[in-house]
C-alpha cells in the first residue's frame, strides 16, 4: 500500500503541472456550465400563464366568473389575468403572444344561462401555447360544467319520474354537495432547478474524462518504457495499478470539489446539503475511476483507451440525462438509464434537494456498487493491466 501511495503522490505532482488536467477538469466544464446557464437559465421552471378576459355580458353569470372563478385560479399563482375592453384588443394580445389565451364572455351569456338555452364562453388560445390554452379551457369549463350539471340533474330527475316543479328541482340540485370532492395532496419536489441540473450534469459528465488522467498514465508508462523499470523494482504489480487508481480518485475528488464550489459561486447552482453532496461525490468518483480503468485495461494504446473512454462516457452520460432531463422518458430507456452512474448521481442530488441527507443513500449504494464492481474487475485484471 505504501508503494501505491508513493506512486500516486509522484503522479499527482506530475498532474499538477499538466495543463490539460486543468483544461478538461476545470475550465471546460465551468465554461460549458456558464454557456448553458446563459442560454437555458431563462427557462428555469414555468412562468405563470397570462390570460385576458373581456366581459361583454355584465350579467350575474359573467360577474361570478370574473369576480370569483378567475381570482380563485390566480390565487394558486399559476395564472395571471388582466381585463381588456374589447374583443379585438384581446384577440390582438393573443396574436402577439402577449397572453396565452383570452376568455370572451358574450353579451347575452347570463340571459341564455338563466333561460336554459344553449350558452357558451369563448376561449381564444395562442396556437403556440397549447398547455396555456388547455388550462384556460379547463378553468372556463369547470365553471360551465357546474352550470350545466344542474340542468342535467333536473332533466334526469324529471325523466326518472320526479313530480316536483323543475324550478324547485333546480334549486335543490344546485345545493347538492359534491359527491367526490377533490382533495389537494401536495408532494415534495425532488428535482433540481435548471441551473443546478445542467451544472451537475456537466460536472459528472466531465468527471468521466478527468479521472482518465490517473489510470491512463499506465499506458503512457508502458509506451515510454518506464513501466518496465517499475516492474523491475521490488514492488507488487498490484501496487502500481492501485497507485494509478488512487491518482485518478484524488484528481477526481479535487476537480469535482472545485467545480461544486465554482458553479455555486459563478452561476448560483444549489447543490444541497454539503454532507449529502460530499457522500455522493465520494462514491461517484471511484465509480467513474473504475469504469474508466476497465476500459483502459482492455485498450492497447493510450489513444485507443481515450477513444473508447469517450464513447463510454458519452453513452452513459446521455442515457443518464447529463445533457437534458430524461425523467419522463419511461420504458426501456428508463431501464437502460439504471446502468448509468451519471443518472444515479443526478438522482441522488434530486432526492437530496427535498429530503434529509439520508435521502442520498440509495444512490450512494448504487454508485458504491458500480465502484466495487468496476474497480474489482480492474484489479482482477492486474496482470493484463501492468503487462509489458
Amino acid at each position: 500500500m505504501r508503494h501505491a501511495v508513493l506512486i500516486a503522490a509522484k503522479d499527482l505532482r506530475e498532474r499538477a503541472r499538466d495543463k490539460s488536467v486543468f483544461l478538461f477538469g476545470l475550465l471546460l466544464p465551468l465554461g460549458l456550465v456558464l454557456v448553458l446557464n446563459l442560454v437555458l437559465g431563462d427557462l428555469s421552471g414555468s412562468s405563470p400563464f397570462r390570460y385576458v378576459v373581456v366581459d361583454d355580458d355584465h350579467g350575474p353569470v359573467a360577474v361570478a366568473f370574473v369576480e370569483h372563478v378567475l381570482p380563485a385560479a390566480e390565487e394558486s399563482g399559476a395564472v395571471e389575468v388582466r381585463t381588456a375592453a374589447t374583443t379585438d384588443e384581446a384577440r390582438r394580445l393573443v396574436a402577439d403572444g402577449e397572453v396565452s389565451a383570452a376568455f370572451l364572455l358574450p353579451a347575452d351569456l347570463s340571459t341564455d344561462v338563466l333561460s336554459g338555452t344553449a350558452a357558451a364562453i369563448e376561449v381564444v388560445g395562442d396556437v403556440n401555447a397549447p398547455l396555456g390554452t388547455e388550462v384556460a379551457r379547463s378553468i372556463a369549463a369547470s365553471f360551465t360544467d357546474g352550470l350545466h350539471s344542474t340542468r342535467v340533474a333536473v332533466a334526469a330527475a324529471v325523466r326518472a319520474g320526479s313530480a316536483l316543479d323543475p324550478a324547485e328541482l333546480a334549486r335543490l340540485a344546485a345545493a347538492e354537495p359534491d359527491p367526490r370532492p377533490v382533495v389537494d395532496d401536495p408532494t415534495e419536489r425532488r428535482e433540481l432547478d435548471t441551473t443546478t441540473y445542467y451544472a451537475a450534469g456537466m460536472v459528472v459528465f466531465f468527471l468521466f474524462f478527468t479521472v482518465q488522467f490517473g489510470i491512463t498514465s499506465l499506458l503512457d508508462e508502458r509506451h515510454d518504457g518506464t513501466l518496465a523499470r517499475l516492474l523491475a523494482a521490488p514492488l507488487r504489480p498490484s501496487s502500481i495499478l492501485v497507485g494509478k487508481l488512487l491518482t485518478s480518485v484524488a484528481v477526481g475528488w479535487v476537480s469535482t470539489a472545485l467545480l461544486v464550489v465554482g458553479t455555486t459561486l459563478l452561476v448560483g447552482a444549489r447543490w444541497g446539503n454539503p454532507l449529502g453532496v460530499a457522500l455522493l461525490v465520494a462514491v461517484c468518483v471511484p465509480a467513474a475511476t473504475g469504469t474508466v480503468a476497465v476500459v483502459s485495461v482492455l485498450a492497447r494504446t493510450a489513444a485507443q483507451a481515450s477513444g473508447w473512454q469517450a464513447v463510454v462516457a458519452v453513452t452513459l452520460g446521455s442515457l443518464g440525462g447529463t445533457f437534458f432531463p430524461v425523467a419522463q422518458v419511461g420504458g426501456a430507456l428508463a431501464a437502460a438509464a439504471g446502468f448509468s452512474p451519471h443518472q444515479w448521481f443526478l438522482r441522488g442530488l434530486a432526492d437530496l434537494s427535498a429530503g434529509e441527507v439520508s435521502a442520498v443513500l440509495p444512490s450512494v449504494a448504487a454508485l458504491g456498487g458500480f465502484a466495487v464492481l468496476t474497480i474489482g474487475a480492474a484489479l482482477l485484471m492486474t496482470k493484463k493491466a501492468v503487462a509489458l
Binding site: L23, L28, G31, L32, V35, L36, V39, L40, L43, P48, A73, S76, G77, A78, V79, V113, A118, E122, V123, P130, L131, E134, V135, R137, S138, I139, S142, T144, D145, H148, S149, V152, A153, A155, A156, A157, R159, A160, S162, L172, E176, P179, R180, P181, V182, V183, D184, D185, P186, T187, R189, E191, G307, W308, V311, V314, T315, F323, A327, Q328
Partner: protein
C-alpha cells in the same frame, strides 16, 4: 485534382477510425432516440392515476393535453410525482379524489388542467345521486338516466379557437424536431472535433512534406477544406437517411433540405478549418471544439427549441449558424419550400464564405510551420 485526392484521404482517415465512427454515426441516432422519447410530439405532461372507474379514465384519456399513465399504488405514484416522472397524480377512491401535485407552478397548472374533467365527472355522479334521492331509483339506474339525458340538455359550454401560426406543426412526428436539431449539433460538433486531424497533419509534418512535392499550397488548403466539408456532408446524409428510415422522420422538401444540408456542411467544414489552422495541439482543438460545438448548439436551439427562448436570447441566438438552420428546418417541417428558406440559406452561405476565407488564409500561413 490534387485537392480532391487530399479530401479523399481525409474521408478515408475518418472511416478507419472506429471510435470516430461511433461519434459520427451511432451517437446521433442514440440522442435522436432519447430526445424523441423524452420530448417528442411537444411536451405533453403525464398524469399518473391510481384507481378510478372506466368512465373517469376514459374522460381523462380523451383530454389531449394530458397523457394518462395508470400506476399500481399510492406510494409509487407519490415518488413518481416528486421525481417529476409524472407531472401530477390522481388517487381516486369512491368518496374522494386526491390530487398529488408538487408545490410549484407546473403542479398548479396541472391541477387547473385536470380540474375540468374532475368537475364533469363529479357533476355526473352528483346528478345521479340527486336523481336517485329524488325518485328512489337505484344509483346505477340513475347513472344510466343521467347519461341518456346529458346530450339532450342545452349545453353551457366553452368554445375553443386558436389563433396564430403554429411553431410546431400539428403533423410533426415524434422524432421530427429532435432529428433536425441533433443533425445540426453533430454535423457542426464533429466537423470541429475532426479538425484535430488537420492539426495532426501539421504536427507530424505531413503538410510540410506535401509542400515539398510539386503541390501548390492552394491545392493543399483546398483539399483539407474539402475534406472537412466531405466528412460533415457524409455524416449529414447518413443521419438524414437513417432517421427517415428508422424513425420515419419527415425532412420536408427534399431539394430544399439537401441544399440546406450542403450549406450547413460548408459552414461546419469552414469552422473546422479555422480551428485546425488556429490551434497547435490536438488537445487544444478538442477542448475548443467541445466548447464551441456544444455552446453554439445550445445557443442556436439545438438543445432546447428556439421557440422556448425569451425574445432577447432568441435574437442573440441568430449569431449562430445553428439558429438560422434550425429556423429553416422548422420552415420545411411546415411544408415550406426552397423559396421559403432562401434567406436562411443566404445567411448560411455568407457564414461559409467568411469562415472559409479566414480558415484558408490562416492555414496558408500555418502550413509550413
Amino acid at each position: 485534382m490534387k485537392a480532391l485526392a487530399i479530401a479523399g484521404v481525409n474521408l478515408r482517415r475518418m472511416f478507419r477510425d472506429r471510435v470516430g465512427l461511433f461519434f459520427l454515426f451511432v451517437l446521433p441516432f442514440l440522442l435522436v432516440l432519447v430526445l424523441g422519447a423524452a420530448f417528442g410530439g411537444g411536451v405533453t405532461p403525464k398524469l399518473g392515476v391510481v384507481g378510478g372507474d372506466a368512465h373517469l379514465l376514459d374522460a381523462l384519456r380523451a383530454d389531449r393535453a394530458l397523457q394518462v399513465e395508470t400506476s399500481a399504488d399510492d406510494a409509487a405514484l407519490r415518488t413518481a410525482v416528486e421525481r417529476g416522472e409524472v407531472s401530477a397524480g390522481l388517487v381516486v377512491t369512491p368518496t374522494e379524489v386526491r390530487l398529488l401535485t408538487r408545490p410549484d407552478q407546473g403542479g398548479q397548472q396541472m391541477r387547473l388542467a385536470v380540474d375540468d374533467v374532475l368537475a364533469r365527472e363529479s357533476a355526473r355522479l352528483a346528478a345521479a345521486r340527486f336523481t336517485s334521492t329524488q325518485t328512489g331509483v337505484d344509483q346505477s339506474a340513475a347513472l344510466a338516466v343521467v347519461d341518456s339525458v346529458v346530450d339532450a340538455v342545452p349545453p353551457v359550454s366553452v368554445e375553443v379557437t386558436t389563433s396564430g401560426r403554429s411553431a410546431f406543426p400539428g403533423s410533426a412526428g415524434r422524432f421530427d424536431t429532435s432529428a433536425s436539431t441533433q443533425l445540426l449539433l453533430f454535423v457542426f460538433l464533429t466537423a470541429l472535433t475532426g479538425s484535430a486531424a488537420l492539426v495532426e497533419t501539421r504536427r507530424l509534418g505531413v503538410s510540410r512534406r506535401m509542400l515539398a512535392t510539386p503541390t501548390t499550397s492552394t491545392a493543399i488548403v483546398l483539399g483539407e477544406g474539402l475534406g472537412r466539408v466531405a466528412v460533415a456532408l457524409v455524416q449529414g446524409v447518413v443521419i438524414v437517411a437513417g432517421t427517415s428510415l428508422l424513425f420515419g422522420v419527415r425532412w420536408g422538401d427534399p431539394i430544399a433540405a439537401g441544399v440546406l444540408l450542403l450549406v450547413f456542411a460548408l459552414v461546419a467544414g469552414g469552422a473546422g478549418m479555422v480551428l485546425g489552422a488556429v490551434f497547435r495541439t490536438e488537445q487544444q482543438v478538442g477542448a475548443a471544439a467541445l466548447m464551441l460545438g456544444i455552446g453554439f448548439a445550445a445557443l442556436g436551439g439545438s438543445m432546447v427549441p428556439l421557440e422556448l427562448f425569451g425574445d432577447t436570447v432568441r435574437t442573440i441566438a441568430l449569431v449562430t449558424p445553428h439558429a438560422w438552420a434550425n429556423n429553416a428546418f422548422a420552415e420545411l417541417a411546415r411544408h415550406g419550400g426552397l423559396v421559403d428558406v432562401l434567406p436562411e440559406i443566404g445567411v448560411l452561405a455568407g457564414y461559409a464564405v467568411v469562415l472559409f476565407a479566414f480558415g484558408a488564409w490562416r492555414l496558408h500561413r500555418s502550413l509550413s510551420r
